[in-house]
Symmetry: C2
Subunit: 409 residues, 2 copies
């Protein structure tokens, strides 16, 4: 079902010095499939993260926030699929702590140096005993940097594993950035139902890494949406092992920091787009750009209003250049003083709306041709300023309903 999305070639996912991976089939929800992943970090690894804004933040999210608040290096993260450990109250918090403690015992570190992540069904208790039983197998396998296998281990309803990798050079040293993600629905800023882990061997100070993770999230995971819903477990983690050998990046405004952030953003954007391409029931990958906003916030409101409109998304599923629904969606963004006489809209290269009305040059055949492919570009210009933004989404198909009406049964 995924739109032009293939599993990453393992050879393209470069190992990250200082980061080791291990896996196991713990039988958390289904027997025999990989559902547990352990990532061990070299001593001194700095980790920063951003998390769901949902009020029902899952237990592991709460524990991650607590452990990261200490500002100390981390030694490991552990991810289980099959159970989200959400809506589970104090028992859930204890389960997340117990998971960290079990990892710490095996790795010889402190529990507060371990970050827990869970994804899967909500409101059911996490079977910590099965995780504890399977962790030794994860630890035994540590070493070989099988990022492609890690991408598989964290999948739930994903149809394709998601990974990306880049290298850059800082002071003559090769620096690697490699990431994996999972998520296909219940997506919306901030953030997708989504777990994303990006690791680098760059040498970065903690506060700089924290700023970078937020900035990257705002250019990637917070710009993708499937259905406007937001999950309780969304997490994006950025880890820097410090093994690359260049001098430490202590400030944001250096060429090294900018180059590193650019590479991380590229990886994050590939992962975020992969999530929309694998959106539940997706048959089209849709890029919405909005130019001419007074500020980025209003450009984003318009882009999200288009990208989340069920009427726009069902029309695009039908390859219908339905201009009425597009202007309806722009008009619904809640920009109080929007003057529609300055609004232009392109489908691909075709000018369809000019100064708020149907473009004089517009022919329906051209519009139909623009929305026929499985990759569609919608470009709105508000004509009010110079701010712009981009959002990625997918269409809304019969299969979206089928998948979500039958997920649990």
């Amino acid at each position: 079902m995924a739109v032009r999305l293939l599993p990453p070639d393992p050879a393209d996912l470069h190992p990250v010095p200082g980061v080791e991976l291990g896996f196991a089939a713990a039988g958390i929800r289904k027997a025999g499939r990989l559902d547990l992943m352990l990532m061990r970090f070299a001593p001194g690894t700095r980790v920063a993260g951003v998390f769901t804004q949902n009020s029902f933040a899952a237990a592991p999210v709460q524990i991650c926030r607590e452990h990261l608040a200490a500002g100390v290096p981390m030694r490991a993260l552990v991810v289980n699929a099959g159970n989200a450990n959400c809506g589970t109250g104090d028992i859930g918090l204890r389960a997340a702590r117990d998971t960290c403690a079990a990892v710490a015992r095996l790795l010889g570190c402190e529990a507060r140096e371990v970050l827990p992540f869970s994804t899967g069904v909500i409101l059911e208790h996490l079977p910590v005993d099965r995780i504890e039983a399977a962790l030794p197998a994860c630890v035994q396998g540590l070493g070989e940097p099988q990022w492609a296998r890690a991408a598989e281990a964290i999948m739930t309803t994903d149809t394709v594993p998601k990974g990306a990798s880049r290298t850059l050079e800082i002071e003559g040293h090769v620096v690697t950035v490699t990431g994996i993600a999972k998520g296909v629905g219940m997506l919306q800023p901030n953030m997708a139902t989504m777990l994303a882990f990006i690791a680098t061997d760059a040498v970065v100070a903690g506060p700089v890494l924290q700023r970078v993770v937020r900035s990257v999230a705002d250019r990637s995971f917070n710009r993708v949406t499937v259905d406007g819903d937001t999950s309780t477990n969304d997490s994006f983690i950025l880890a820097a092992s410090g093994k690359a050998g260049h001098s430490r990046i202590d400030r944001d405004d250096t060429p090294a920091c900018r180059a590193l952030e650019a590479a991380i953003t590229e990886v994050a954007q590939v992962l975020a787009q992969s999530i929309a391409r694998d959106g539940e029931g997706a048959t089209k990958f849709i890029t919405v750009t909005v130019d001419g906003g007074r500020d980025e916030a209003e450009a984003l409101r318009v882009a999200r209003s288009i990208a989340n409109s069920p009427l726009v998304k069902t029309a695009l599923f039908a390859s219908d250049p339905n201009l009425g629904r597009l202007i309806m969606a722009i008009g619904n963004a809640g920009i109080a003083d929007l003057d529609i006489r300055h609004v232009n809209l392109h489908l691909g290269d075709v000018l369809v709306i000019e100064r708020g009305g149907r473009a004089a040059s517009y022919r329906e055949e051209a519009g139909a041709a623009a929305v026929q492919p499985d990759e569609i570009l919608i470009r709105a210009d508000l004509g009010r300023g110079s701010a712009h933004t981009t959002v990625w989404t997918c269409d809304f198909s019969y299969d979206y309903v089928k998948i979500n009406a039958e997920y649990r049964t």
Copy 2:
């Protein structure tokens, strides 16, 4: 497809003294179907309205606002189906003015005493010539108060005409309130894709009527949603002919005003609920109540977050008591300091979420039984205060996608 919704019995839609109806088949989009409706008001009739918040307000909405701003009595309104006259720029404004002028010539009044309404496809020019050609037939038919036929004349993709009527007594005089509406999708506060016209023979001062129309809208049409989208033409009009014979209602805080507003609210709620029952592809009618909010605004945010969630709506289509999606939707309402440990949720009479987690007494069979019927009640309690609200919606089915992917083709 509509959920427990039958056409109104013509005998139940009481005539409103001072209000006459006429119809014609103008062939605006399809030949041979009723698509033009004229409502003539007795001299002195007060009219108030609320309109779409969409930035792309259609030409007729702009003209209505202009004519109502004068604060003078109205003599007529004219409604066409088949073409929304939206995104049509200056040509569209002229078309709406020309329509009013044509009505005024036939009725012997001023164009500014006529209100125009259009519903149907967007971005196509209104064929005013066909409306002008058909208006004499409307005028000839004026007289017999065929409200059920009026409800038919304004339908677009509605599957069932929508009407309701109530009577009350003021100072010993019988007062009638009768209304019709159309709309099935692209619905969201503020307001539904929706035209609603309620008329009464009550004697009401203009400013009081204006306050009443807003208050009623907030308890009815602004509480119904199908897909979270909002149309460019939404209008709710309240007309008071003043023929009932009681003394004029000049103030809000009188028993007569309260009784009248209660009757109008009842009619409007039946119409609003009819819209959700006839929602595109609807198989379930869903009532969402939220109690325990600090204020009504936050209760409404939570109710809309539940009612608009595609994941909740597809689960209910499948009769799946998916608690995870319900708490996800509550958590996404954007209430920054919501303490989930005070949140309870019922499906019908079944307590399913207690203090933010699965209720100890909950059994999945009971939840499944609660979401099996075609009328479902979801009751959330935020445990923060005493404000409450109610929103009506429908589920999200294969047919929603089918209807919206094929509407224009």
